[in-house]
């Protein structure tokens, strides 16, 4: 497939090169359209968010109030911190102007005069790259006052995160922009009514926004025919783990997972079998390696397979992988990144990790497997934001699809390790806590 988001053109990150290849034509076009025509174009294209939830982008834009006395804001989410996800970084480095152009078009469509691109703090180097591109765009009048003489003005600012996965959650991201702790907000109210500083706000992922100029340039009909009809467009797929050529690959949605692994990423080192695959970043449900045939990288196909697209960050695990170690590490991540605001996530993520750590050292109990499932179920759906679900899904799917891996790690001694160093852990099991 032709590459649109990450085209193979040398020095494409430079403004003059970007312009030579038709860059900022979409912005010019959009400035000549009515804002609702721009939104309509995006809506008809069926572009769906690339940040994990696959929400229809055009529809999201229509939630913004047209009549309001308050300023409106766009937040572009480049917090990209989900393990297995490293796609937005490629955009910052290789096609920053596409992102800037898309941001300006989105502002134009929604009547927004200020946009913030939120980028994780670890990407300091890439923030500088994007800032350079942004400065150039300002000089050329693509951003700022009276863009290209159209009378429309919008400012774009970069906002640097500081080490908190949770800030990729849209409402935590807004709090972080406001200079607060990255606590997710209780919804409703939703951002389109009550976002940053209580004003109407739209939050879109970096890759999502980078698709917008393509749609405006070549029309929704063209775009909607790329890849899967219900989830069309080019998509950046990160492939990592046990593959010969890990990296980010731009494909059309609907690409077979097996093609991504074998054709693009060069297959598995030593030609071993795939034991398991996380298809879309660590929060998506893990799939068995023997259940990948025919599964495609799009929302519908992955849903049918019992997982989701997420951020399209595939983590491939070969047949020698210790999956208990994998799930323990994932659980540790969510424990570390839980903001601590609401009870089930704050307490449950740590509990999951602590039990899994015992399995890792061969000190689990058979009953602990059901307990893990119970804890995950008790977190899921009961929290302020989706981090709770993100912590629960990997554990649930790992137990459902690889229960034997847990059973293999159950302690050989019936009541667990007899060493006194294990304190009264097991003795306490039957003790009642009376309050």
């Amino acid at each position: 497939m032709e590459r649109y988001i990450l085209p193979e053109i040398p020095d494409y990150h430079k403004l003059e090169v970007y312009e030579q290849h038709g860059g900022y034509a979409a912005l010019k076009k959009a400035l000549g359209m009515k804002p609702e025509e721009v939104t309509d174009e995006v809506k008809k294209s069926n572009l769906r968010g690339r940040g994990g939830a696959c929400f229809p982008t055009g529809l999201k834009w229509t939630f913004m109030p047209k009549q309001t006395t308050k300023p409106k804001y766009l937040c572009v989410n480049g917090d990209e911190s989900e393990p297995g996800t490293f796609k937005d970084r490629q955009i910052f480095e290789f096609n920053p102007h596409l992102l800037i152009e898309g941001t300006a078009i989105a502002c134009c469509a929604m009547g927004i005069t200020t946009a913030y691109i939120y980028i994780r703090g670890e990407y300091g180097k890439w923030i500088k790259m994007l800032q350079k591109a942004l400065d150039d765009a300002y000089v050329k009048g693509y951003v700022g006052e009276n863009i290209l003489g159209s009378g429309f003005s919008t400012n774009i600012y970069l906002h640097k995160g500081a080490g908190a996965y949770i800030c990729g959650e849209e409402s935590a991201l807004m709090n972080s922009i406001e200079g607060q702790r990255g606590y997710p907000r209780v919804r409703p109210p939703f951002p389109a009514q009550n976002g940053v500083w209580g004003c109407p706000t739209t939050i879109n992922n970096v890759e999502t926004i980078s698709n917008v100029p393509l749609i405006i340039n070549r029309g929704w009909e063209w775009y909607s025919k790329i890849g899967s009809p219900k989830h069309p467009g080019p998509i950046l797929v990160g492939v990592s783990g046990h593959v010969n050529k890990p990296g980010v690959y731009e494909v059309a949605t609907g690409e077979l997972l097996t093609d991504l692994i074998y054709r693009y990423a060069g297959g598995i080192p030593g030609d071993t079998k795939i034991k398991a695959l996380i298809p879309g970043g660590s929060s998506t449900m893990i799939l068995r390696g023997d259940a990948l045939e025919g599964v495609r990288m799009d929302a519908e196909s992955l849903k049918a397979a019992g997982s989701s697209v997420g951020t399209a960050g595939m983590i491939v695990m070969d047949e020698n992988t210790d999956l208990i170690r994998v799930i323990t590490r994932i659980a540790k991540f969510y424990y570390h990144e839980s903001c601590g605001q609401c009870t089930p996530c704050r307490e449950g993520t740590g509990w999951l990790w602590k039990i899994l750590k015992r399995f890792e050292t061969g000190d689990g109990q058979t009953s602990d497997i059901d307990l893990l499932m119970d804890i995950a179920n008790n977190i899921e759906g009961n929290t302020i934001c989706a981090l709770g679900d993100a912590a629960a899904w990997p554990v649930q799917s790992m137990i459902r699809r690889f229960r034997d891996e847990f059973e293999k790690r159950v302690s050989k001694t019936p009541n667990g390790s007899p060493e006194p160093s294990d304190r009264n852990r097991h003795a306490e099991k039957t003790a009642t806590v009376s309050l």
Binding site: R181, G340, C342, T343, P344, K354, L371, I384, V433, S434
Partner: protein, 557 residues
Amino acid sequence: MAKITIDGNQFEADNKRTIIEAARENGITIPHFCWHPKLSVSGNCRMCLVEVEKLPKLVIACSTQVAEGMIVHTNNERVENAREAVMEFLLINHPLDCPICDEAGECKLQSYSYKYDQGYSRFQEDKVHKPKRVELGPRVIFDAERCILCSRCIRFCAEVAGVPQLQFVQRGDHTLIETFPGESLDNPYSMNVVDICPVGALTSRDFRFKSRVWEMSFTESICQGCARGCNIEIGARNNEILRLTPRQNDEVNSYWMCDHGRLDTFKFVNAETRIKAPMIRKDGALIEVGWDEAIAKVASELKSFKKAEIAAVGSAFATNEDNYVFQRFAREILGTKNVDFMRHVVEGDEDNILIRADKTPNSTGAKELGIAPGEGGMGFAEILHGIKEGKIKALYALEDDLAATPEVAEAIAKLEFFAVHASNENATTHSADVVLASSTYAEKNGTVTNFRHRVQRVRPAVTTLEQDRALDGFEMSRWDKFAAQNDTWGKGPRRDARASWKIVSSLATLMGAKFRYNSADEIFNEIAQKVEAFKGLSYLKIGKKGAQLKAKASVAA
């Protein structure tokens, strides 16, 4: 208005209400920790998860607004399972130290545990350990391990006290509440966080480890710290007041009270300085005597002066009933027009929250009930002047430490006769000829009128010698009710003190009048008949939350 159904019952609710509010208005309590009616919604504890039909997930009742046709289930299996899950999560890292926790007995975590906990722990891992016994401020101690991070205290400081002294630091299950280094939780309302803390994380330094709450009685009363008249509960055990806590009254103090009111307005009741019986000065020293002798002494002394030589000083610390009877006595028996009371206004010591510059609970009441000079009579300043000039020779005063002010002390020293009602030894009793042992506000029935002309009830919480907890209708703790004679409690000190109205009535009777009052409510009924502003009122109508006086209802703050 929206028609909603909660647990099968239909209600009408304001569209702006959340489910938890609408339920509460209709007598249904949805379990919660972080939600508080007077604080912003934080939605973090997840205890109030309920099922709303047609919504895929459970929703939190504290932030979900009601809508037409909404069908809510607060107690079905799904909801109870979620509640049990939240309880389990809250308890895994909790120290479970109820036996040594001050909050026990009034702890939400503990009471919900009885209802929504499986009764055993599935948690076999190491608990997270956090700081304990942290002095968050001069009056509040913090145990981070008990804390469930509901943020009520943080929101209280920022939203009610107006000083954001507390905040979360760190994150995840290592989150803590902290003050910035070098700062402290020292705002004048800091102790309210102890009340609203739903667990034992924040405790009162003053009350810590003093008593299990179920051993105490709780009596509804009014704070004596200033003219606001915050509604309070007096917590007592062994006939001793151990703590005051605010009692909700949206017309007066919401759910709050200031730290000064909470800590500095009850300790005199238990103090060593209490006057234990009436006293007469003999050979320069005050000697305890019987009531008959003390009253006879005052009567004979007062009779020996001309009317114009006597002044009567009421008190903004005494009840309406005391002041009413006192001014009747001054006018009808003593025949003096020199009637007034001393003001205790500390200019500038006030705020826009609760604290008033007038540091007395009843100056409005004293004025309204006639503690004011008659035509041609002397006011308080003139009385002092009159004493210095030798025009006033005898002074009869109600409960107030007049001589604490040097200028007043100077005048009092010149008197030929000075009788005062007092509960504690002070500069004034030291210069009195007769001290009549009066009950404190915590030992008698009565009313006080706040600066907004709201009449509110005080009730006895501890007994004097003449009172009996059970027979006189006091609030009773379990100990009070079930103690046997040989048990040690219930034997706290009791003083031979009397309500001022009673002392004045005895004096009046001895001096030939018929002041036949048997109880404070009889006096109040007379006030309600004779004083226009009080027309139609009764103790019953005042009830728990007070009553606005008619004539002055519109007087602004």
